[in-house]
């Protein structure tokens, strides 16, 4: 039984989809049950994810709307060395699940030191109420990562003790990594806008 199945068993109504695209175990979860699921991930001895390696977000506003999007090229054939050969043919297909095509997705990468395995957890977040539960009570590393996501995407983490900008300055208006923020729109503190 792999990791995503294990988690699906524990949260049968809340796991929206799972996949193993390119060998990365991925679980897409409803945001309401994030905190409970995270606690299980950390405390269940079979999972034992003691590292929150990375926490980020993706803005799907213009996904597949690029003028240069290819008309679905097939996957190049030879498998990389780190992939298990074709044990799971479904692992070759990657689609966003039907019920979870929200604008934002908060993405967690977990790692377990004792079991030496990784898991990616994705939480869809609506544009109207960009709120997720904070994981600072479980992993200290979530503190700065969540501040960064707030800074760059404007996702509010409920329960975060100190949610303020980290990379940019307080005077900055907007969230620059959102796809609708122009790349060279400057808001200088001093000097001309060039």
């Amino acid at each position: 039984m792999n990791l995503s199945e294990l988690l699906t068993q524990k949260f049968p109504h809340d796991v929206l989809a799972t996949h193993r695209y390119r060998g990365d175990d991925t679980v897409i979860l409803k945001k309401e049950r994030l905190l409970e699921a995270a606690r299980v991930l950390k405390e269940d001895p079979a999972l034992d994810f003691n590292f929150l390696m990375d926490l980020t977000c993706v803005d799907y506003l213009v996904f597949e709307k690029s003028p240069s999007t290819a008309p679905s090229t097939a996957t190049p054939s030879p498998l990389p060395f780190f992939m298990k050969p074709k044990s799971d043919p479904k692992g070759e297909i990657w689609e966003r699940p039907e019920g979870a095509q929200t604008r934002f997705e908060v993405i967690y990468h977990f790692y377990s030191l004792s079991k030496n395995h990784r898991l990616r957890l994705k939480v869809p977040v609506e544009e109207k109420s960009p709120e997720v539960a904070s994981l600072t009570s479980l992993w200290a590393s979530a503190d700065w990562f969540e501040r960064e996501v707030w800074d760059m995407y404007g996702i509010v983490f409920k329960g975060h003790p100190n949610l303020k900008r980290i990379l940019l300055y307080e005077e900055f208006i907007g969230h620059p990594l959102r796809k609708d923020y122009p790349v060279n729109k400057r808001q200088p503190l001093i000097g001309p806008v060039n």
Binding site: Y21, R22, D24, T26, N50, F51, L52, M53, D54, T56, V58, D59, F63, E64, S66, P67, S68, T69, A70, S72, T73, A74, T75, P76, S77, P78, L79, P80, F81, F82, M83, W94, E95, I107, H109, L113, N116, R118, R120, W139, A140, S141, D143, W144, F145, M152, R165, I166, L167, L168, Y169, P176, L177, V183
Partner: protein, 477 residues
Amino acid sequence: MTKQQVWLLVIGTCLVFVIWLLEFNMGKIQEEVTKTGTTETRSMLLNIGPSHPAMHGIVRIVAELDGETIVGADVEIGYLHRAFEKMCETGPYNNAIPYTDRLNYVSPLINNVGYCMAVEKLLGIEVTERCKYIRVIMSEISRISDHLTCIGASAMELGAFTVFLYMIKAREYLWELIEKVTGARLTISYTRVGGVKGDLPQQFKEDTAAAFKQTREVLKECDQLLTRNRIFVDRMKDVGVISKEDAISYGVTGPFLRSTGIDYDVRKAQPYLVYDRIDFDIPVGENGDNLDRYMVRMEEMEQSMRIVEKALERLPGGSILVDDQGHEMPAAFMVDEAKMGRTAGFKERIVRMDPTLEGSSGSHHPAVNAPEKKVVLPAKEDTYGNIEGLMDHFKLVMVGHGIRPPKGEAYFPVEGANGELGFYVVSDGSDRPYRVRVRPPCFPIMAALSKILVGDMMADMVPTFGSVNMIGGELDR
């Protein structure tokens, strides 16, 4: 009365007045104490940075001091935010490689490798054996130069200026080696998606042996200067201690984590490239203090040299073919000829491999680059010498064509000099990355810094901060 006596009198009067003034005030303070029962102590706020000699990088720490002890520290970062992630989304896949150079600018090649491996994972392709070995060799040389800079700079801040000069000297030997391979000293952009820019130059093995001999001499000298130096050890030992639990909770990796005794290293835990085929050790510490981090880094340099030497021994095929009949020409010359249309007989001639600024050539191209035509740029004399090569080239560099990974996402971790360096790439099937996220290794360490500093003395901030090896480009991106 003489003049001198008058002066003495004046000075004497002044002294008496000053002493009276002091006593009067002391009495007042005494009165205050007896009235309230206690003296009021207030902690002092001390601002360090953003531009400060002991902060090699731009960071601001507001420390709250009680006497000389730090009781609280507020770390502020972001002064070098250059929008790496946003810039990556604006161009094709290969255009992001120069930006990855400038993440951890002390060991740029590890970033290059990490990014390219993530895109290759997304594409589902694999590079050639020789390319894997070259990537390992160059990554490890970069790692040595990173550790040299880190130890040199933090020793300098403790007053050991000689060590800094020696270590930069050693770094210069390694950079000359890197320059021979890539054509640049620091920001090298050596890898491509599906391969590397060019093969290793001739004499590389001998050059490496010579550079490592000099580097080992420098390391031995520095070891003698520092490791049993009473002043150095006293300032490093039991300073900046982090416990195992805290390190894991903060997501700290790399030498910082290994100094606490946890032997987590991506090269061993989840081997990539050819690390599983090369025998090397992972040094670990015990106490998680500054001295252990110094020792771990010193040993890691030795292990990296070991890896490079072993990899060079096993480097497979694709040796540098130079025709002894004189049928050779530099690739750049061939390119110039081809531009003038003098291409007759090109395919019969053997081009000398110059993997520096002058380009690479056909016979060596397959040895270091994956055979995927949809990903890897053709050899330069194919581009200029025949129409298929030219079309192939343009299909890869034109806007709206280029590398097109299938829709999906991939995360690829490599062991950077500061810890786990992960690249998370999302593709929507177009020719430019939809999202590139880098997990910066020193970001979690800086988050943990405010906890590590508390309880230490003011002066301990310098060695602790030095052992973090904060790299602005990687921290703020």
